[in-house]
Symmetry: C2
DNA sequence: TTGACAGGCAACCATATGGTTGCCTATTGT
DNA sequence: ACAATAGGCAACCATATGGTTGCCTGTCAA
């Protein structure tokens, strides 16, 4: 559950699209997730493995199919443990930045 | 201000550390940001350029020095426009996931 | 004014990454 | 039974990435 794995997983637009699709409809199979993607099934598998390693999705075997579920917990962790830290002082930092730049700009 | 650039910039732990350091103390020069890092100055420059391209930092030349400022806006944008979407249904999705897995598990 | 200091720029290098093709296994439905 | 379907695994390839070294430019201070 390393935070680095989550950030790395989120860095790729294809993987974010996969998360978006699972967010729109959960419990999709690999082949379903391949549709309307001009990639090979194997490429999608690799992305899904990375997402699973980052704990962003969870899978469940169902006969010969493999169902994929979105796991929102690590994203929540990022928002709380890392982004929140920067958001906190957002307005204060912004006005401070503006003031500083104006002052230094003279 | 592409979201992809922000995610890619955040993917590297060195760059996140740089943001952390600017968060701890704003307006640092390149050389200050190089201290206590076993990297060359040029490597740090590359990281800072990537952060600046993603609009995560803003710079200001001051004589022969270049000051770096943290810009929290894009992180806020991510939190609001992307992470929020997943956080919203967090608890609902979690319980739903648990139920589904229990049901399917039989 | 000139040496030291802060930083920029470019070439280069090793490895990581995202994709492919080819083939194998397991489950399903007729 | 067996063809079709769902997916796994491994080798391979091109490019992206993160780092280095070497050298150049601009600013400051003695």
């Amino acid at each position: 559950m390393s935070m680095d794995a989550v950030f790395k997983a989120l860095a790729d637009p294809t993987r974010r699209r996969l998360l978006d699709r699972l967010h729109a409809r959960n419990a999709q199979t690999l082949n379903e997730l391949c549709e309307r993607d001009d990639m090979t099934r194997q490429a999608v598998t690799k992305h899904l493995n990375i997402l699973e390693a980052a704990n962003l999705i969870v899978t469940q075997k169902r006969g010969r199919e493999k169902l994929h579920y979105l796991n929102p917990v690590p994203i929540n962790g990022i928002a709380e443990r890392w982004i929140g830290k920067f958001e906190q002082g957002r307005l204060r930092a912004l006005s401070e930045l503006k003031k500083t730049l104006e002052r230094e700009g003279q």
